[in-house]
């Protein structure tokens, strides 16, 4: 079983985000980065499948030099080798189409049985990259996956639907699965893992290696304006005698807030 996990590095959860001057994205100075949460769960799932069925886990990530930190973390946790798409040309790819195209090109000859991505990244949250990779590589796909059972020639997966409903589906392999956060317990990178990660293969791939040009990766989608959501919360004070206040409150809770 050859499983590839797509990782994205995103600003740390506790970062203080400021909108950049051009109002197109956040100001990236002074920000620390980490592996996007759902991707961490995808990695964990891949490692568990490998432990159960044998095989290899490859991680792939596209991003600048700093991305290596997250790639190394994946290697430290147990991935066998890594591919880093590191080239200024890749920075063109700011939408799911471009990212998906580049990653698909890099994985074309790997012959993966499974490709796992996070359900969506913590920054853009497109939720599209996995599906685009599947389309480009002609693989089947399943989204919002919560459980994976490997069979011969297929995988059975539990998908999350709305309102607490689930669905079990069988997907022929090779397949792309987009993994939901929180489905397993993330492991720590052990010190042994951290030190042995240094010896693992981390292959750097340039756009030219994939025969891709800046034109090929030109975004089809763009951000018009990034802004902090305007607050719409309102506080209302109910005045009067305690009994009146209580009655009014019950009414509000029942009809406005609809909590009962």
């Amino acid at each position: 079983m050859k499983i590839c996990v797509c990782l994205k590095q995103v600003p740390k959860k506790d970062s203080i985000l400021r909108i950049a001057q051009d109002q197109k994205w956040i100001d990236e100075r002074d920000i620390s980065y980490e592996m996007s949460e759902a991707d961490a769960y995808a990695l964990e799932e891949a490692l568990r499948q490998k432990e159960a069925h044998g095989g290899e886990v490859i991680v792939i990530s596209m991003g600048p030099e700093r991305t290596r930190q997250s790639i190394k973390e994946a290697l430290a946790k147990g991935a066998d080798r890594a591919i880093h798409l590191d080239d200024p040309i890749f920075e063109q790819a700011t939408d799911a189409a471009g990212i998906g195209r580049a990653i698909a090109a890099a994985l074309k000859d790997e012959g993966c049985d499974l490709i796992m991505t996070g359900l969506q990244s913590d920054d853009h949250g497109f939720g599209q990259v996995g599906l685009i990779i599947a389309e480009r590589l002609g693989m089947s796909s399943a989204t919002i996956v919560m459980e994976v059972q490997i069979e011969t020639g297929s995988v059975r997966v539990k998908r999350e639907l709305e309102s607490g409903w689930f669905q079990w589906v069988r997907v022929p392999t090779p397949a792309v699965l987009t993994i939901q956060s929180g489905i397993n317990q993330l492991r720590y990178a052990t010190l042994k893992g951290i030190m042995s990660a240094k010896k693992k293969e981390l292959r750097e791939v340039k756009a030219a290696d994939l025969n891709l040009t800046a034109d090929d990766l030109k975004p089809l989608q763009s951000i018009e304006r990034a802004y902090v959501p305007e607050k719409s919360k309102q506080t209302e004070f109910i005045e009067g005698k305690p009994a009146e206040i209580a009655a009014r409150l019950v009414e509000k809770l029942r009809f406005d807030a609809r909590v009962f």
Binding site: D14, I16, R29, D30, R68, Q69, K72, E73, A76, Y188, A189, T190, L191, K192, I194, M195, A197, K198
Partner: protein, 594 residues
């Protein structure tokens, strides 16, 4: 793993006083390798997810749980950083060990248990054990199957550790040493399996022994009722004709002091690093509180006097971090030149930085004291309540100034070591003092300021070094071999040295930062360095006056004071405005952000 140290010049311990170190010389947190960062992350996540949620249980002295948590930490490799690979450890560098200690200090009691186990409980065997002892104990200490402790102190001998009364006598058949005595204040005693016990063979040869809890005659007294660290175990250990196999003598008979004191150097660094982590954490807690507590219709974080406290905590956190990483970097560089696998060489390398280790212990524990005290103040009445975290932090922090050598003892070490090494010719203090005399006798010339962000601070630093050289030089000349009796003068000199080390470390790291990121991205760090340097000059002047007035009088004193004035010329910076700026940035960030 220490690619950092390659090609760096080895700087002698204590040389910061007499030489100018440059930014390229100093190691900074920005120089940590990806591996170090990942170790830090593992330690941090482990603490956040496994330790902090069990805070209440740990504080209720659930030692079974503490053992279990130690074991889990062991599974990740967090207990074996300092243990060579050959004995089941990871055999990593000191930096890895400190990064991990820093990130595991969030629960003070657990951090105490952990430190006693990995540092003073394990390292004596790493550095002084023979092959059999290492094979027997280290792999099991690495996993916390065995928990370690260190038993040096007795009721009658604390600071004066060598005055221990515990006695060891060889049994008639020559197979055992019979130990009799009582050790006091032993961290982890309630549940530890292996104790490094110091006793005097035949009543005079100070020696270390590896003592297992189950050896006949070993018993542990009930828990002490402590001011803080309620979740860490502290008990007396009784040795009533305890029978210790002769193969458990650690190191050489009569050379126990080498073990006792050398291990403490590493203990002091680790105490320093966890204190610094505490300062940063409490700074965040105070900032969060000050942001949401309103008085007079506004958040208290908008008051200048509260801003002062928030900013000062952050400044001290930043400066101490500069000092800490610089120190570890120097030690690592020295270690790169020796055979790391030879424990004696490694210890010798660490020992030569005893001055810096003591500085880190004193400075770390005292800025933690300042920070916990002012955090209580920021919380007001709530700060005095057990319902808020700062009340406990205040009590937990108090021990840091007492153990691993009291701050008094460490202050005596700092200037005492400079003088001792100088009289041995290892440091050029006396020559520097002589040169300085020449300079003092010549008329003072207006000096040109150098270029750069810290032009004034650099000049002040050079002058403060001269003040320290003059003070120590005069003390040595005046008191000669009786200088040890002049504790107040030595402590004043040590305070000057601590301030110098802080000032220089902050300047060097910040210059390095500015060079890589540009001035605009380093506003807080530059401001913090300026404020610290400004205050350091004032403190140094006051300490120098105390020392000079104690050492001289009349015309001699007047002449000394005139020179002091010449070296303390410094146009004060607007620390009020700078602290406000730093505080505003902390409040905006909602946390320590230097």
């Amino acid at each position: 793993m220490t690619s950092y140290a390659e090609g760096k010049r080895v700087l002698q311990g204590g040389s910061f006083l007499l030489e100018d170190h440059v930014p390229e010389d100093v190691f900074t947190p920005e120089d940590l390798t990806d591996e170090h960062k990942m170790i830090g992350q593992t330690a941090h996540e482990f603490t956040e997810k496994e330790i902090l949620p069990l805070d209440a249980e740990i504080e209720a002295k659930d030692y079974k749980l503490t053992r279990e948590l130690l074991r889990k930490a062991g599974e990740l490799g967090l207990l074996s950083i300092d243990i060579p690979e050959k004995y089941g450890g990871a055999g990593l560098d000191l930096l890895a060990s400190l990064v991990s200690a820093e990130n595991m200090s969030g629960q003070a009691s657990f951090s105490g248990s952990l430190g006693a186990h990995t540092t003073i409980g394990t390292l004596p065997i790493v550095y002084f054990g023979n092959e059999e002892q290492k094979k027997k104990y280290l792999p099991r200490l690495a996993t916390a199957e065995l928990v370690g402790a260190y038993a040096l102190t007795e009721s009658g001998s604390g600071s004066d550790a060598l005055a221990a009364k515990t006695k060891a006598v060889l049994s008639e058949d020559g197979k055992h040493y019979i130990l009799t005595g009582q050790k006091m204040w032993i961290t982890n005693a309630g549940f530890a399996d292996v104790f490094i016990v110091f006793a005097k063979v035949d009543g005079d040869k100070f020696t270390a022994f590896i003592v297992e809890r189950t050896f006949p005659g070993v018993s542990v007294a009930p828990e002490e009722h402590k001011m803080g660290l309620h979740g860490s175990s502290t008990c007396a250990v009784n040795l009533e004709e305890a029978r210790i196999p002769v193969e458990n003598v650690l190191g050489e008979i009569g050379k126990g002091h080498q073990i006792a004191f050398n291990i403490l150097n590493i203990g002091r660094l680790k105490l320093g690093v966890s204190s610094i982590a505490g300062v940063k954490r409490l700074n965040t807690i105070a900032v969060e509180y000050a942001r949401q507590r309103n008085q007079f219709g506004v958040p208290i974080s908008s008051f200048g006097l509260i801003k002062h406290k928030l900013a000062q905590m952050a400044i001290l956190g930043y400066v101490s971090e500069c000092m800490m990483y610089r120190t570890v970097g120097m030690i690592e560089t020295a270690m790169a030149t020796i055979d790391r696998d030879d424990p004696r060489q490694a210890l010798k390398a660490i020992e030569s930085y005893a001055i810096e280790c003591s500085i880190m212990k004193v400075f770390g524990s005292e800025i933690l004291a300042y920070t916990t005290d002012e955090a209580v103040q920021v919380f007001g009445g709530n700060g005095y309540s057990k319902d808020y975290p700062v009340e406990r932090a205040y009590r937990d922090a108090r021990i840091a100034r007492i153990y691993e050598g009291t701050n008094e003892i460490n202050r005596l070490i700092i200037s005492g070591q400079i003088l001792r090494r100088s009289s041995k010719g290892e440091l050029g203090l006396f020559q520097a003092a002589k040169n300085l005399m020449g300079e003092m006798l010549s008329p003072s010339m207006p000096e040109d300021l150098s270029d750069g962000v810290f032009a004034q601070e650099r000049q002040a630093l050079a002058n403060c070094k001269k003040i320290a050289i003059a003070a120590l030089g005069s003390a040595a000349q005046k008191y000669r071999d009786k200088v040890q009796d002049q504790q107040e003068v030595l402590a004043a000199a040590s305070n000057i040295l601590i301030s110098i080390y802080g000032m220089e470390s902050a300047i060097l790291r910040t210059e390095k930062l500015v060079a890589s990121r540009g001035e605009a991205a380093c506003r807080n760090q530059i401001d913090a360095t300026r404020v610290f340097a400004n205050d350091a000059v004032q403190h140094i002047e006051a300490e120098a006056k105390t020392a000079l007035a104690a050492m001289s009088e009349g015309d001699e004193l007047r002449m000394m004071l005139a020179t002091l004035r010449r070296f303390t010329k410094f146009i004060p910076v607007n620390t009020v405005a700078l602290r406000r700026q730093i505080a505003d940035s902390l409040v905006e960030a909602g946390r320590y952000n230097l």
